[in-house]
């Protein structure tokens, strides 16, 4: 009996990669919805992390995110993903208005020696839930995106990663002089993810 409960809390590299890449999928959807990048009607509600989450029903966006999380999962399993950044840009000028930065620290021992770690699913989900709540409430302090916007996702990988056929190298798409707000973190004991949103200063408020 006791051994069974212990067995349940074991997390492997593969399991951790699945949790983290799934998190990116939901986080991307949530950001696109809450920041109004795509119209409200193109999202449908599902239950996830004990919260109502919204997922895009737009086939194009859906397949983009699916392809993204599949690739991220692969990199996470090899321990070569350092950072994932979602940028929101003005559609008209391509200026970067918002940058959602997810930094990843991977336990290298797990990758090299394929050992496992111990942490319960419940605890990880609770940590992710806290981040998702913060994403949803971020509209209070983030400047209004009062123009049509587009988004892109950047993956920071180790240099020795072979560039997949469908990917290209990109510039970091930084914001000059940004405001930054750090959100909660979560840790699978194999991958630790720190979340931070940086955004362009609103000139109006500074007057």
């Amino acid at each position: 009996m006791a051994s069974r409960t212990v067995a349940k809390d074991i997390i492997t590299l593969r399991g951790s990669a699945a949790i983290v890449s799934e998190f990116f999928g939901y986080a991307a959807n949530s950001i696109l919805y809450n920041r109004g990048v795509y119209p409200e009607e193109s999202f449908a509600k599902v239950k996830k992390y004990g919260l109502p989450m919204l997922l895009t029903q737009d086939e194009g966006v859906k397949s983009f995110i699916t392809n993204l999380t599949a690739q991220l999962s692969e990199w996470l399993e090899s321990g070569k993903l350092q950072r994932v950044v979602m940028v929101i840009m003005s559609k008209a000028t391509n200026e970067v208005l918002e940058r959602w930065n997810f930094s990843i620290e991977t336990d290298s021992e797990v990758v090299e020696k394929s050992v496992s770690r111990e942490k319960s699913d419940r605890e990880i989900m609770r940590e992710i839930q806290a981040i998702m709540r913060q994403v949803a409430s971020s509209i209070t302090y983030l400047p209004c995106l009062d123009e049509p916007c587009v988004f892109d996702v950047l993956a920071y990988t180790d240099k020795d990663v072979a560039v997949p056929f469908t990917w290209i190298e990109s510039d970091p798409k930084l914001i000059a002089n940004p405001q930054m707000v750090k959100l909660h973190s979560f840790d699978t004991k194999i991958h630790k993810v720190d979340t931070l949103v940086s955004y362009k200063n609103d000139e109006w408020d500074e007057q």
Binding site: A136, C144, K182
Partner: protein, 446 residues
Amino acid sequence: MDAMDAGSLNSFSNLTGQSRWPLQEQMDRFIPNRSATDFDYAHCMLTGWKVKENESVCSPAREAYRKLLAEALNMNRTRILAFKNKPPEPVELFPSENLTSVHLTKSAKPRRHIPQSSERTLDAPDLIDDFYLNLLDWGSSNVLAIALGNTVYLWDASDSSTSELVTVDDENGPITSVSWAPDGRHIAVGLNNSEVQLWDSASNKQLRTLRGCHRSRVGSMAWNNHILTTGGMDGQIVNNDVRIRSHIVETYRGHQQEVCGLKWSASGQQLASGGNDNLVHIWDRSMASSNSPTRWLHRLEDHTSAVKALAWCPFQSNLLATGGGGGDRSIKFWNTHTGACLNSVDTGSQVCALLWSKNERELLSSHGFTQNQLTLWKYPSMVKMAELTGHTSRVLYMAQSPDGCTVASAAGDETLRFWNVFGVPEVAKTVQKAHHEPFSQVNRIR
């Protein structure tokens, strides 16, 4: 500037809450996290300039920069990748002419002059001084409806003409709510005797009477296409399909006391209701069922007094502003998707009505004792932009003109006042059509 920095630092510590910064992180008091800073880029820029000084004769600066950037990236052993195929661009929500106006205002951002006094004042004798009623509405065809005692008057803003729509009998009246249908032609009139009348304003004919929805007066109404939602003193909310004989299609039960505020979101998906029981409910249209009473999506219990003022944000679809009565005095903002309270501001006075500007990120609130003022707030900073005084009793009702520029307010002092409080969109200014403007004779300054 200093104050602002302090503010943002505070919000930092709130967000991180219990967790202190890990010591190994690179940080200081002013830049709490540098992970969004690109040191490679900074390094490259620094070294780049040096090289440029040394070998200023050689290849163009851009070439050198590119080489150094590549070097810097090699050193750092990080590769930044993105998909070749970009995600689909969102379909444009606004017509492109609006878009250009956004850019124009953005580049210039002139300070707008907000007139401190009302443009016009009309007498509104016998206007009932009752917080729980909704006696003023401005329809899409630019006609303002106001209920004074047992009579509904229509005031056509395009030619300032007044006409009487209906006077009800003493035993049925007084009128407790008026609401224009989205077509600007049909109007619903809620009565003290629990009935609702539907009128065609073009022919001045009554079309039908909705009975049996409520057991007492109907103080609030809201349209969602052909659905007329009514809120009663009995605490019930009823969806009436005005096209069919048995018009009651849904009932929402959740309020214990009079429902005094009702507003559908712009998408028609969510209904916000406020009651004398201090509650705000969010109802989801897709959760409704005809055979059993629908459960609310969210019950928001933070207000400590009756909630009449409700306003859906026109630029953020799941954002709702609510205002509390005399014992509460706060304006609260909600994410209606999660039910989270996003912000709360103490206004110091009863909040009777709330309106969002259609053209700017601004919110207008109307108040009671002590100033009986209208307050214009910048959103989301909630900095006060203007306080408009003139009314001598609480400002119970507000309505916005179809072009979004003018606000009408009716107060317990039995006057109806018009304010040019919201800015004019850049496009509207240039293609202003006289017959659409309620006050074309008044110079509008922006």
